[in-house]
């Protein structure tokens, strides 16, 4: 078990922190020394063994907390938001450490986090829990691309997925979802068991949106309120015709010339639109 607050024994130095569990199990000194060496080599703790927890940095403490779990040679490791108390830069470093460690140990690790980056990068299998209930499990990318509930869809992805209420309409062989100021062609594999006029929730990730010149390709027009330019990409925050708040990812070059109040015509590929039942909030393709 690795705690969010590290929960190291403040009165013991690193070595004794690592040895605590083994001593309780009455392991002999040679074994203890060997395990400590192993764990401290793996985590780079060797220079810190004689220090007290208060003499360590946050990242070092978290490594000790992991070391304490490792020496136990457990079959299952439980990480309880281990990176939440670290600053962003350190978090990325330790995240990589944890991934490497997991590979080395080869034992099952259960990793609890609120951070989707950690969830996406670390997991072999991702379980999304909502109020203690499993909403969805699967490989991270599958979960990201095929969220089976509205909750999962809005939980993964940053900025959050755009959610809009709409009604289904049949258009020949395909389906269209319409709402005020919005009309999207849907890919048929997204729509199963659909009825004409059914009310649904549309989910469109900002990253899946494209800005087009022609209004013909566009499914909606975004009136820009705020531009967030991050360098590698940019986000336009605004509202659709009907007043629905909406976010779109745009190219940095476009961000340079876009001004507040401008209208952007948005398009999306039909197979990127997620559809959820208005009442059950489950995906229509589930």
């Amino acid at each position: 078990m690795v705690f969010q607050s590290y929960a190291l024994y403040p009165h013991l130095n690193v070595r004794d922190n690592l040895a605590f569990g083994l001593r309780l199990r009455k392991a002999d000194d040679a074994t203890i020394a060997a395990r400590i060496k192993e764990a401290s080599d793996m985590l780079g703790l060797a220079p810190l063994l004689d220090r007290l927890p208060k003499e360590l940095s946050g990242g070092q403490r978290q490594r000790v907390a992991m070391g304490r779990a490792i020496v136990r040679r457990a079959n299952l490791y439980l990480f309880d938001e281990p990176l939440s108390n670290l600053d962003a830069a350190l978090r990325a470093d330790v995240r990589v450490d944890i991934r490497k460690l997991h590979t080395k140990l080869g034992a099952t690790s259960l990793y609890v986090t609120h951070d989707q980056t950690e969830a996406m990068t670390l997991a072999d299998t991702l379980w999304v829990l909502n109020k203690g209930r499993v909403e969805q499990k699967g490989a991270p990318l599958d979960v990201y691309e095929r969220p089976q509930t509205k909750f999962v869809a809005s939980f993964l992805g940053s900025p959050r997925i755009n959610l809009v209420s709409a009604a289904l309409k049949r258009d020949g062989n395909s389906w269209i979802a319409t709402s005020k100021g919005l009309s999207v062609h849907l890919s048929s594999d997204r729509v199963r068991d659909a009825k004409e006029g059914a009310s649904v929730i549309l989910g469109m990730r900002p990253h899946d949106l494209r800005v087009t010149k022609s209004t013909a390709d566009a499914f909606a027009t975004l009136h820009v309120d705020v531009i967030e330019a991050l360098g590698s990409e940019a986000f336009a925050y605004g509202t659709l015709e009907g007043g629905t708040p909406f976010i779109a990812r745009i190219e940095p070059d476009l961000a340079r010339i876009t001004k507040i109040g401008d209208a952007l015509h948005l398009s999306i590929s039909g197979d990127r639109v997620h559809l959820f039942d208005q009442t059950t909030e489950r995906a229509l393709d589930a």
Partner: protein
């Protein structure tokens, strides 16, 4: 504005001038330490004197506790009164110090006074006070239990009474009370040469008699003043022997009668309690003033003074022929006829404690009267001031000067270091803030400490100190030449003190910790209630708690024995054995001390993160292992200072030891501070000796805490060095 100022100055000058030119008769001054009705009555009597004589008198009421020392300080410097009222038994000391002069014609008609009262104020043939009032024992009788007073006290004592009641009670533990019987057997507390007199056949016979009464259940044992008053007013005792002061405490529903004490029996004759006389005394300057002498004479003889003092002040007048309708006053006056004036010698002070101890020992059956009294005499001699030869202060002076030189040398060397001056300049602001506190601490802590240390080089009483160098220390550290672990020796007392400290602190910590753990349980209902209840013992003043516990350990009526009785345990005489008396002290002090540790531990427990305990649980620690390997080590840093503080408090816990066991049996449960107190205040006022004890206690405590500090610093330094070494080797 300016004009006003000038007017004011002129006015003040005028007032001063007027005072200086006042040609009226000089005013007299009178001091007393009375309170309540006695004070009012005296002041009224003085007022009547003013009206009659036309003289002015300034009356000053001084609190009793500081009265004697105020007199001793003021009179030699001519700031004292002309006349003062005090008890006669201080006359010996006052005379030696030159605070009083023979009263001359202030006495009036000598034959008017009752003989014992006149004897009381006569020192070496000189009359040094004018008797105003007297106090001695009479017999208080509960008429509903004892309708007819038997002819003799023996008959009274042997009267058959219903179960649970006693025919007779008195403060049997005190030598002051016992003196009444001692005198009947022709014994004495102090010989005419000022030696311990309570030895020999007479004293033994008096003790044996009272011991028999206690053994046969005629009188309650272990009786102090409070118990006697309580038993009598609750109707459990038919008659008690006590002084007029008991009246004030008594609120009885039964018919009360006060009679002179009956004779002990046909053979031994009258019971002869001590007599104390309140007398008007004249200071040397007052004795020269006719007005002061007539004031004293007026107070003692004039009808208007007698009237108010006996009616309002309820004083018992020490006169031969005063007709009074008051049966109580009559009884006390007749009781005083057989009384023996309390000796005026200062040696009395050193006699009380050994005598008290001997009496308690005999009454509890711990020693024969012979052995107990021989021991008491030994104790008296041991304690009475031995005139140490005065020694030259030169060696000490040399050591002191050498110390000063060393200190100056060290200071100069510090001042030479490069950073010293800049450090000093940088800290100027800080010094300004610390200034007031430093000065305060210097005068309130350091100066008394130095005065105490200097006092310890002197011997003799406060008024006649003799420089003896280190003689006090030598005497203490060699156990006054007796066996090193003999009774009352420094080493034995130190051992008891250390045991006392260790046992107490151990109980404080364990009980405090256990309660704190229970109180910190998350699911405890009514936690605030428990918390308040458990902190209460701490909130009550310790001396009240101590007195309460002393009462509860009383052999016959105490709650502890009553509870033990329920489970069939025989009544324990708690203060007759070291182990039980020590246990009683410890119980009281544990009761007083655990809440502090509990509060500290509760605070410390909240600072232990829950996750750490959870982590230990996941690491496989059981409840016990979690407590000993995680909780306790984490509590240690916050508990340690409190433990050290608690140890110092306990080491010096005077109240409990003094009030609960009072050192019983035989001073064996005394700790260093209570022993020091006894040297200063009960054993002929050997202030220097007591100061040496205090210095030794200070050095012991100071070096102990310094030692533990040093040890902690060394451990920390070692730990840091280990880390540094490790980092270095890793780096290489």
């Amino acid at each position: 504005m300016r004009e006003h100022g000038l007017k004011l100055v002129a006015l003040v000058l005028l007032a001063l001038f007027a005072t200086a030119c006042d040609e009226g008769p000089p005013r007299l001054s009178l001091w007393h330490a009375y309170r309540g009705d006695e004070a009012t009555a005296l002041e009224e009597a003085v007022h009547r004197f003013e009206l009659e004589s036309g003289l002015g008198v300034d009356v000053l009421a001084v609190p009793f506790a500081g009265y004697a020392s105020k007199l001793e300080a003021a009179i030699p410097r001519e700031h004292g009164p002309d006349v003062f009222v005090d008890v006669h038994n201080r006359l010996g000391k006052f005379e030696r110090l030159g605070l009083v002069a023979p009263v001359g014609d202030a006495l009036g008609e000598a034959k008017d006074f009752a003989e014992p009262a006149l004897k009381a104020v006569t020192v070496d043939g000189k009359v040094l006070g004018v008797p105003l009032a007297q106090k001695s024992f009479a017999l208080y009788i509960n008429r509903s239990l004892l309708p007819e007073t038997p002819k003799t006290l023996t008959a009274l004592v042997e009267t058959k009474m219903p179960a649970g009641t006693f025919p007779f009670a008195y403060e049997s533990e005190s030598a002051y009370s016992h003196a009444a019987f001692l005198h009947t057997f022709h014994g004495e507390m102090l010989t005419s040469t000022g030696d311990f007199g309570m030895v020999g056949k007479e004293a033994e016979a008096s003790l044996d008699l009272v011991h028999r009464w206690t053994e046969e259940g005629h009188i309650p044992g272990d009786a102090d003043g409070a118990l006697v008053a309580q038993l009598f007013s609750s109707g459990k005792v038919a008659a008690v022997m006590s002084g007029p002061w008991l009246l004030a405490d008594l609120h009885v529903r039964f018919p009360l009668r006060i009679e002179p004490l009956p004779p002990l029996d046909e053979v031994h004759g009258a019971i002869r309690p001590y007599l104390t006389v309140d007398a008007a005394m004249l200071t040397p300057s007052g004795a020269g003033k006719p007005g002061a002498r007539s004031l004293a004479r007026f107070l003692a003889h004039e009808r208007s003074s007698l009237e108010i003092r006996s009616s309002l002040g309820r004083q018992i007048l020490p006169l031969r022929n005063v007709e009074t309708q008051d049966a109580v006053a009559m009884a006390f006056r007749r009781a005083a006829e057989d009384a023996i004036p309390m000796p005026t010698s200062g040696a009395m002070r050193a006699a009380w404690v050994p005598a008290d101890q001997a009496i308690r020992k005999v009454l509890r059956g711990d020693a024969s009267s012979h052995d107990a009294l021989v021991e008491a005499e030994e104790r008296f001699r041991n304690a009475a001031a031995e005139a140490e030869p005065s020694s030259s202060p030169t060696p000490l002076f040399l050591v002191f000067s050498f110390g000063l030189v060393l200190a100056a040398f060290a200071l100069v060397r510090r001042a030479k270091t490069a950073t010293f001056r800049s450090d000093l300049r940088a800290s100027k602001e800080a010094y300004r803030y610390l200034g007031v506190a430093t000065v305060t601490v210097f005068f309130l802590v350091i100066v008394p400490l130095l005065v105490g240390a200097v006092t310890s080089f002197y011997s003799g009483t406060r008024n006649a100190p003799v420089y003896v160098g280190l003689a006090n220390y030598v005497s203490i550290l060699t156990a006054r030449g007796g066996p090193l672990f003999g009774n009352g020796s420094f080493y034995r007392t130190l051992a008891v003190t250390v045991l006392w400290t260790v046992v107490n602190v151990a109980f404080h910590v364990v009980i405090g910790l256990v309660l704190a753990l229970i109180l910190s349980k998350p699911k405890l209902a009514a936690r605030p209630l428990y918390r308040v209840l458990l902190i209460l013992p701490w909130a009550a003043p310790s001396y009240i708690t101590a007195l309460t516990w002393k009462g509860m350990f009383q052999k016959q009526f105490g709650a502890v024995n009553a509870l033990l009785g329920l489970v069939g345990v025989e009544p324990v005489s708690w203060f007759s054995k070291f182990s039980t008396a020590f246990a009683a002290n410890v119980t009281t002090n544990v009761w007083l001390g655990f809440p502090f540790m509990m509060v500290v531990a509760m605070g410390a427990l909240t600072s232990i993160p829950k996750e750490v305990l959870e982590a230990a649980e996941i690491d496989g620690a059981t409840r016990t292992q979690r407590f000993f390997r995680v909780t306790l080590p984490l509590l240690r840093p916050s508990l340690l200072p409190s433990v050290i503080l608690g140890a110092v408090w306990t080491f010096n816990m005077f109240n409990v030891v003094f009030l609960v066991s009072g050192g019983d049996p035989d001073g064996s449960t005394d700790i260093l501070v209570s022993e020091a107190y006894r040297w200063a205040f009960t054993r002929d006022a050997q202030i220097g000796y007591a100061a040496a004890y205090a210095v030794i206690i200070f050095v012991l405590l100071f070096s102990t805490s310094e030692l533990s500090d040093w040890w902690k610093r060394r451990r920390d330094a070692q730990a840091r060095a280990a880390i540094a070494a490790h980092v270095l080797t890793e780096g290489a």
